[in-house]
């Protein structure tokens, strides 16, 4: 059946860890949009959810940093952070090692992809899962794109990775959903935490939902760092989802700068054509 659902969402740890400090009206609207995303995901009846994430030095360090990595385990754990700090209890999360292996073998014909049989999920995956599969019953296949430490994965390769992942999904009988998760502009965990470039975000999101490949891959790292902060490097996850949904368009369900969450909180979906 292949790909049945595609979307993107934010994953800032403040979304759960500092929830009590946000304006309640805005926070509740974001949570309602996450609920809508979960309902749409569930309605697509996925057998597995691929989460394309930007992990933050929880499993991958500068001693061996892959440009792309996919998990290949039947079980994962998370969060790696202090559960109280993140506001999410530590749990086991089911995976699907056999399907991971098949997807990895297929993607590797186009993209050099590392694999990991051990993976401790950080907030980059746990915050989305907290909302999208709160009972942790849906098998997860994690993907990481290096969005943290230069040299960063080129945006053109991220789009190509999305294409390869889509092709690999099309070869499978399983119903596969995919979520990209990252920030747009933000300066997380720095003295500028809470700064958000809303204009830049909205322009990027417009390119994303219209799947303008050339515009999406034209951003330079210098421009992103200057206009969108180091957190902006995480647009790589959105670009991968655009590649996986090439020729399709999408819809923004939620965008609102929420400084205490250190991000312009975003939820969007792409159609599957």
């Amino acid at each position: 059946m292949s790909l049945v659902f595609a979307g993107v969402c934010s994953h800032g740890p403040g979304i759960t860890g500092r929830a009590d400090r946000a304006d309640a009206t805005v926070r509740d609207a974001l949570y309602a949009s996450f609920d809508r995303l979960r309902s749409a995901l569930e309605a697509s009846r996925p057998d597995v959810l691929i989460v394309v994430a930007a992990e933050h030095f929880a499993n991958f360090f500068m001693d061996n940093m892959p440009a792309f990595c996919m998990g290949m385990s039947d079980t994962y754990v998370g969060p790696i952070e202090d559960p109280q700090w993140l506001g999410i209890p530590r749990v086991e999360i089911p995976g699907n090692a056999a399907l991971s292996l098949q997807l990895i073998e297929s993607v590797m014909t186009d993209i050099d992809l590392a694999y990991a049989q051990e993976w401790k999920f950080d907030h980059g995956i746990m915050v989305p899962l907290h909302f999208l599969t709160p009972e942790y019953t849906l098998p997860i296949i994690p993907v990481n794109i290096n969005c943290q430490g230069p040299p960063l994965t080129p945006l053109t390769r991220c789009y190509d990775f999305g294409r390869a992942l889509r092709r690999a999904c099309e070869e499978r009988a399983e119903r596969i959903a995919i979520i990209g998760t990252g920030g747009i502009s933000h300066w997380p965990a720095t003295p500028d935490s809470g700064k958000i470039n809303e204009q830049w975000d909205r322009e990027f999101l417009n390119h994303f939902v219209n799947n303008r490949r050339d515009a999406l891959v034209a951003y330079t790292d210098e421009e992103i760092y200057r206009e969108a902060g180091q957190g902006g490097f995480e647009i790589r996850t959105f670009v991968a989802i655009a590649g996986a949904t090439e020729h399709s368009r999408g819809e923004i369900w939620f965008y609102e700068p929420i400084p205490i969450f250190a991000v312009g909180a975003t939820i969007a979906v792409m159609s599957i054509s």
Partner: protein
């Protein structure tokens, strides 16, 4: 200046309870396994978040060390700002990047 090893040490105690226990209980012997300067050892011993930030430790690594050192979120942000006031701009790493 051995930013790589400061960050590697913090990465390891962030994700490994055994490494964290050794950091807390056998600080000197644990740190001897890394190539660190006296300034770096002192910053780690004192959980000097401001100085570690100015040295160039990535915030995605540093914020967890700050949390385990009992810094609340606002105190963590203030400590980095104070570090810049006290020690000057970030010296190395991503936040000191000059793009060519």
């Amino acid at each position: 200046m051995s930013l790589y090893y400061v960050q590697k040490l913090l990465y390891q105690i962030n994700r490994d309870e055994y490494a964290l226990a050794r950091f807390n209980e056998n600080f000197d012997s644990f740190l001897a396994e890394y190539r660190l300067t006296e300034e770096e050892i002192l910053a780690l011993r004192n959980a000097d978040i401001g100085l570690l930030y100015v040295m160039g430790v990535n915030g995605q690594i540093l914020m967890h060390f700050a949390a385990m050192s009992s810094f609340a979120w606002d105190a963590y942000l203030d400590a980095m700002r104070e570090g810049i006031r006290k020690h000057g701009p970030v010296r190395a790493g991503l936040y000191a990047t000059v793009w060519s």
